[in-house]
């Protein structure tokens, strides 16, 4: 067996009850959950993460997709990306969600990967994934080579002098535009966290990416099905036509009254250290007609205060153009 994948040995257990799964991870500092495995296994092969114990959550009763007329959509944490993307009620009531999922990864990965795992996937920053280089996210205090190195893929918003890595999930961007809530359960807490408060800015602790504690399990997400959500689109700009992460992506939802914007959401991927809601740009659109002038002015708000680096300055322009394009399709 000399050609194994290079993962260090670990113990494995398949949990059949939520309480067992949570205890199985919470009780071991080196333990983690596995769902699809499509990110975790890569990280373990590259020693970007090392775990002595892995708790499989696929047998938990958390794969349901429940959308009752008038109520919120409730999507279980181990529901597969494919099943959510193909769900007829998701497609009709939350189009931005279906579009973001279908534009993610490949059919094979979407058959495997789960909603909870997707939200918790780690950055694709090459320094983070290469255990041979410094990285404050992987090894706090070791430094961030991306600040002055290869930073074409990195953030222009939300960064700190410790980390400018982008959160790569398309799903999270769509869910942010949909005002979704993450429902989680830990050893001694159960809670609901609005997605807008779920991800943390890197600040001085880029190793801490979200509010979850060790051993806390995402149970599912809840998504309001509103008129706003029903008029939503996802635009993903990437280096090749398909099967690639976003250079810039935007999830937009617009509710019009007559020709005026009643309400709007704009969330971005690729440009920020966490899925990024553009509040100022939304404010510039509310109550207005979506004329080209209004769109261009709102788009400028998206990147106000951006900190471009040597290789990613193009993102400030690209994000504005993507904003205008997606809103034109919704007016």
């Amino acid at each position: 067996m000399g050609r194994l994948s290079g993962m260090r040995p670990f113990t494995y257990v398949r949990a059949t009850a939520v309480r067992d799964a949570v205890a199985g991870v919470a009780d071991h500092p080196g333990a983690t959950f596995v769902s699809g495995g499509t990110d975790l296994l890569n990280l373990m092969k590259d020693s970007a993460q090392i775990h002595e114990h892995v708790v499989d959550i696929n047998a938990l009763p958390l794969a349901t997709i429940d959308i009752q007329p008038g109520g919120p959509a409730r999507i279980g944490a181990v529901a597969r990306m494919r099943d959510v993307a193909e769900h007829p009620a998701v497609r009709s009531t939350l189009p931005v969600l279906a579009e973001a999922l279908l534009g993610s990864a490949s059919p094979q990965v979407r058959n495997m990967a789960s909603i909870g795992g997707n939200l918790l996937q780690r950055t694709r920053c090459g320094y983070f994934r290469d255990a041979g280089t410094p990285c404050n996210k992987r090894e706090p205090g070791s430094g961030c080579p991306a600040l002055t190195g290869e930073n074409r893929w990195h953030a222009v918003l939300g960064g700190s002098e410790h980390c400018i890595a982008v959160h790569p999930s398309d799903l999270a961007v769509a869910l942010l535009a949909l005002d979704a809530t993450v429902i989680s359960t830990g050893p001694d807490c159960e809670r609901r966290t609005p997605l807008n408060e779920f991800y943390l800015l890197p600040g001085q602790t880029p190793d801490r990416e979200n509010v979850l504690n060790h051993g806390e399990l995402i149970v599912g997400v809840e998504v309001p099905t509103t008129p706003l959500a029903a008029r939503s689109r996802y635009l993903k700009v990437r280096d090749r036509a398909t099967f690639e992460f976003a250079v810039v992506s935007v999830a937009a939802a617009v509710e019009l009254r007559g020709r005026q914007v009643q309400d709007v959401r704009l969330a971005f991927g690729g440009i920020a250290t966490r899925p990024w809601r553009a509040f100022a740009a939304e404010d510039a659109l509310r109550g207005r007609e979506l004329t080209d002038d209004v769109l261009v002015a709102a788009a400028a708000e998206v990147v106000r205060g951006a900190t471009p680096r040597e290789q990613n300055a193009f993102k400030t322009e690209l994000a504005q153009r993507a904003t205008v394009d997606v809103l034109r399709a919704l007016r």
Partner: protein, 192 residues
């Protein structure tokens, strides 16, 4: 015993407080009474591969790809990138095409697996294999078993409506020899 997921306000990092609304519980979780089972670094795994039942003791860290190739000797499934990026390792598990390098064999205990070795019926090739030969859909052949498994699943999924649709739904399978036009033509023909 069905346990309601309770709700309360919880302190989160940096002093921020998440207010927790009182809404109906979504997931009713049936909890077992026994203590959580301890883990093991090896496990007995049963896989039905191309109709044959195999029972093996595998290390937990062994991927399905390595189990197929190294333990069952089924080397038709290829290891290209071992990172989910190339599709050479594509197999069909319980009806779904997946990348076997991104899943553990222990996670697939009890599953039905179809590999490229399971496509032909004796000397009678699968129509997709015939179509690949017909349309010159390979050169070196390294990606081909993954392309075939993806293609068979794609037709089953109903994604062979047009050349454009085939290209999109074959996008998880790369071909370094650049045989894409032949692959698209072969999949289109075999789907008719």
């Amino acid at each position: 015993m069905p346990v309601e997921i309770s709700r309360r306000t919880v302190l989160i990092t940096a002093g921020a407080v998440t207010a927790v609304a009182a809404v109906p519980v979504t997931w009713t979780v049936i909890e077992g009474a026994a203590p959580p089972p301890a883990g093991s670094s090896t496990a007995e795994v049963t896989l039905t591969v191309n109709g044959t039942v195999h029972r093996r003791t595998v290390e937990a860290r062994v991927t399905l790809l390595d189990a197929l190739r190294e333990q069952l000797g089924l080397t038709g499934t290829k290891k290209g990138c071992d990172r989910g990026e190339c599709g050479a390792c594509t197999v069909i598990v319980d009806g779904n095409r997946i990348k076997s390098c991104l899943t553990l064999a222990v996670m697939r205990d009890g599953s039905e697996v179809t590999t490229v070795e399971g496509l032909a019926d004796g000397d009678d090739l699968h129509p997709m294999q015939e179509a690949f030969i017909e349309h010159d859909a390979f050169q070196c052949g390294f990606c081909t078993s993954g392309q075939l498994m993806s293609a068979v699943a794609l037709v089953e999924e109903g994604h062979a409506g047009s050349a454009e649709e085939i290209r999109e739904w074959m996008s998880g399978n790369l071909c370094r020899c650049g045989c894409y036009p032949g692959i698209v033509a072969a999949v289109g023909e075999a789907s008719r």
